[in-house]
C-alpha cells in the first residue's frame, strides 16, 4: 500500500462523512466560482468530501479557461496551501468555505 493509499484509508476510517457533499467558493484571478457565479459556468463547486484537491483546481481552471500548462496553480485556505493529493475531508473543509486559486505565470 502506497503512502497515499494508506493516508486515504486513514481518512476513510477517521471521516465517515466522506461521501457527503460540500459547497465551496473559489476566488480566482478571473472571478469568483460559486454555486451562482459565474452565471455561465459549466459546473458548480459541489463536491463529495472524498474528492481530491487536484480535482477542484482542475475544475476551477476549466471554468475560467486557465488552459496554460506551464503556469503553477495552487489552492489556498487562508495561509494554508492545500496539497493536491489530499482530499477535501482531510482538511475538514465546511460548506461555503472560501478558497483561493493562486496562478503564477511562466518565469522569464
Amino acid at each position: 500500500m502506497s503512502n497515499i493509499q494508506a493516508q486515504e484509508a486513514n481518512n476513510n476510517a477517521a471521516h465517515p462523512d466522506k461521501d457527503k457533499t460540500v459547497r465551496l467558493r473559489v476566488q480566482t484571478p478571473r472571478g469568483l466560482w460559486s454555486m451562482t457565479e459565474p452565471a455561465e459556468a459549466p459546473t458548480r463547486p459541489l463536491y463529495k468530501q472524498s474528492t481530491k484537491i487536484e480535482q477542484v483546481i482542475e475544475d476551477a481552471r476549466e471554468v475560467f479557461r486557465f488552459v496554460e500548462q506551464d503556469s503553477k496553480y495552487t489552492l489556498w485556505r487562508g495561509d494554508e496551501n492545500l496539497e493536491p493529493q489530499r482530499t477535501i475531508v482531510s482538511y475538514k473543509i465546511e460548506d461555503d468555505t472560501l478558497l483561493v486559486l493562486s496562478v503564477q505565470g511562466g518565469n522569464a
Binding site: 484571478p29 486557465f66 506551464d70 495552487t74 483561493v100 493562486s102 505565470g105
Partner: protein, 152 residues
C-alpha cells in the same frame, strides 16, 4: 504616443473590484487611498512563508498601453528598489523580471532587451498571460509566499 492619465485611471478603476476581491480573499492589503489621475499608484502588502511583509508599488502611468512599473518599497514608501526590500528568489538586478513590469525592459534599463513594451500582455513560454492587475497580484503573491528571507 502616451495615454492620458484619466484613461489610465478609468482602466485601473475598472479592474480594481476584482483585484480587491482577490487580494482580500488572499489576505493581502491593498492601499488605493492616494490613487488619482495625478498619482496613478497603488500599493499591496504581501507576506512570505514566514510572515515577513513586503510592500509593492504599482505605478500605472500609461497603463494599459504599457505595463505598470512594479517595485518593492519600504513600509513608509520612502525607499524603493533596494535589494533589502526584495524577497529572496527574484532577479538579482534587483527586478521583478516579468513582462508586466516596465522596469524589466531593456529600453527602461532592465535585463530584457528582447522584449517590447507594447507586447507586455503576451504570455511567457506556455504560461498564463499576466495581463490584468489581479493576475499580477496573484503572480507576485505566489512567488512571495514561496520565499523566505530577503535578497540582502
Amino acid at each position: 504616443m502616451s495615454v492620458p492619465a484619466e484613461v489610465s485611471l478609468q482602466k485601473i478603476k475598472a479592474e480594481l473590484p476584482l483585484a480587491l476581491a482577490y487580494a482580500n480573499s488572499a489576505g493581502l492589503v491593498v492601499d488605493t487611498t492616494k490613487l488619482t489621475s495625478e498619482d496613478l499608484r497603488f500599493f499591496v502588502a504581501f507576506k512570505n512563508s514566514i510572515g515577513e511583509e513586503s510592500y509593492v508599488e504599482f505605478d500605472c502611468r500609461e497603463y494599459p498601453m504599457h505595463p505598470p512599473t512594479v517595485e518593492f518599497v519600504n513600509k513608509d514608501r520612502t525607499e524603493r528598489g533596494l535589494k533589502q526590500l526584495y524577497p529572496r528568489g527574484f532577479h538579482e538586478t534587483p527586478c521583478i523580471c516579468m513582462r508586466y513590469n516596465r522596469k524589466a525592459y531593456g529600453e527602461r534599463g532592465g535585463p530584457h532587451k528582447d522584449w517590447r513594451l507594447l507586447d507586455w500582455q503576451l504570455p511567457t513560454a506556455n504560461g498564463v498571460a499576466i495581463d490584468t492587475l489581479t493576475l499580477m497580484i496573484s503572480d507576485l503573491n505566489s512567488k512571495i509566499r514561496a520565499s523566505t528571507g530577503r535578497m540582502a
